[in-house]
């Protein structure tokens, strides 16, 4: 019986890994060989043309820079706001705790919707600004709940009693004692939040007009999905070559844009067991 389990698991691993692996080898291969189905296991007709082509696309690099800024600044802001709120909500001696909880959770199920939110952002003159990408949507109630649960279950209440006797105030206690004890949950939330910022395109689509502010995902959308590159193509043989180069670049762009976020993951993985496990299960 046992071997059946592992066999099944191995089939699943192949189904998950192969498409990703295929993209990787396709980005190094002759696009004609990829298109004709000659490339299966190893790159065929090794080439770096896709990556070279990438270098010529300044849009991608502007997008890259913007996304990096949005991700770093957004994650810092979001983490600071959410973790602080979560800690306050985790304290049983917070007066009005129940109502404040409802105030937060209500927003998970009810919101103004696209247009009213858009009008609000516009009224605050945030439309088409850097700030709109990092500030208005930085409160993540789900993350607050996860962090709150973590604080409740792993920071002993006696610690606060003791700190209080030593004359330590709430803010000092939070910064000097609670935060250093919460590395696990902080790193897990940082990962979630950073992945969110790195991968998001919806807010940019709605709230940005200036191409110089476009995050990477919006640039990628133009390259991968709406095919903006092909519009400038000629006909015949030249068009075919251009089409193949465009396809090749698609594979490379997928690699270049996904690699950074995949690289982050192993570094925080060790905190996963502690962080998610404690945080996620009520």
């Amino acid at each position: 019986m046992e071997w059946l389990l592992y066999l099944f698991a191995i089939v699943m691993l192949i189904l998950i890994v192969y498409p990703i692996y295929f993209i990787v080898i396709a980005s190094f291969s002759d696009p004609a060989a990829v298109a004709n189905g000659q490339m299966w296991v190893l790159p065929k007709g090794f080439t770096l043309d896709g990556y070279k082509e990438l270098l010529n696309h300044s849009n991608i690099w502007i997008g890259y820079r913007n996304t990096l800024l949005y991700t770093v600044i957004g994650t810092i802001i979001s983490l600071a706001i959410n973790v602080s709120a979560a800690y306050a909500l985790s304290r049983k001696d917070l007066v009005g705790r129940k109502s404040i909880n409802i105030f937060f959770i209500f927003t998970m199920f009810f919101n103004g919707g696209l247009i009213p939110t858009f009008l609000t952002i516009r009224d605050f003159h945030l439309y088409d600004t850097f700030l709109v990408m990092v500030l208005p949507f930085s409160v993540a109630v789900f993350n607050i709940i996860v962090a709150r649960t973590f604080f409740q279950s792993s920071i002993p209440g006696d610690l606060w009693e003791a700190a209080q006797l030593d004359g330590c105030g709430n803010l000092k206690y939070y910064v000097q004692i609670v935060l250093p004890l919460s590395k696990a949950i902080l790193s897990v939330l940082a990962l979630w939040t950073a992945v969110g910022y790195w991968n998001s395109y919806f807010n940019a689509l709605i709230y940005l007009k200036d191409q110089d502010l476009y995050p990477l995902q919006l640039v990628l959308r133009n390259i991968l999905i709406t095919n903006q590159m092909q519009s400038s193509m000629g006909t015949g043989e030249a068009a075919l070559i251009a089409l193949r180069l465009a396809n090749l670049m698609r594979y490379s762009v997928i690699i270049v844009s996904t690699l950074p976020i995949m690289c982050m993951y192993p570094f925080v993985q060790k905190y996963f067991n502690q962080g998610v496990m404690i945080g996620a299960v009520k």
Binding site: S84, L119, T120
Partner: protein, 302 residues
Amino acid sequence: MNMQQTIGRIRKNWGLYVLLLPAVVLLLLFSYKPMYGVLIAFKDYSPALGIMDSPWAGFKYFEKFFNSYQFSSTIKNTLIISFYSIATFPIPIMLALMINQMRVNRFKQVFQTVTYMPHFISTVVMVGLILILSSPSTGLIGNIFRLFGAEAPNLMGSAEWFTSVYVWTDVWQHAGWDSIIFIAALSAVDPSLYEAAKVDGASRWQRIRFIDIPMLLPTAITLLILRIGGLLGVGFEKVYLMQNNLNISSSEVIATYVYKIGMLSSQYSFSSAINLFNTIISFILLILVNQAAKKYSENSLW
């Protein structure tokens, strides 16, 4: 507790309110203020007049939506995609049960790492990937079909495949990640329960059936309620990116329709009305499902 005591306690913990302040202010500005803007669904909103002074329109825009030919098709598409997605809900649970059975630790770790991985791919890249790989002429899927001498279906270029592609690529991408929470729940099982079951001669299946599954039930029900609450909220992001003229008849959902009416053709009031209708139905569903869960399983959100 009297007034004086309450104020005293608030004053003693003023630091906690400082910590809460930024989140509260942001929610007030960007979540609660737009809720007041929902009023424009009942008004003939004109940007020049603003929300307050625009004339009332009553239920005009709701009626317009109910009478439009998009009404039944967007709702039908939204529901089909939702129910199809919810049907795949047990997959992460099965994954967790599988992982829990693995004895070879090294393999277990690799398996978990690999199944989580696709979760980190962005929606844009994911849809780009689907487009490239599913191309019948040049993509991986086309080539696999040709290997067997068959003709590949045009997955992205036909309405009939849209829902399946949407749902199963989602399973591919997120099932591993979604299993984390169930793995966590399973890790809380007291090992002595298994020991006792073994002593009583319970087989592996019986242990899964009578220990593991009951253990997962509360978490599963909570998540299922949340999912059903979001039934009509089929994500805008992936559907919108996957949409094209060829599959639009099964890919236009409420969220994409709201976006097109509101952002692309600037019919603010109409768009808000559709959105509000959507939110209200979702809210009612959430309450109904929660009630049912409370009645039949003693698990509920509140």
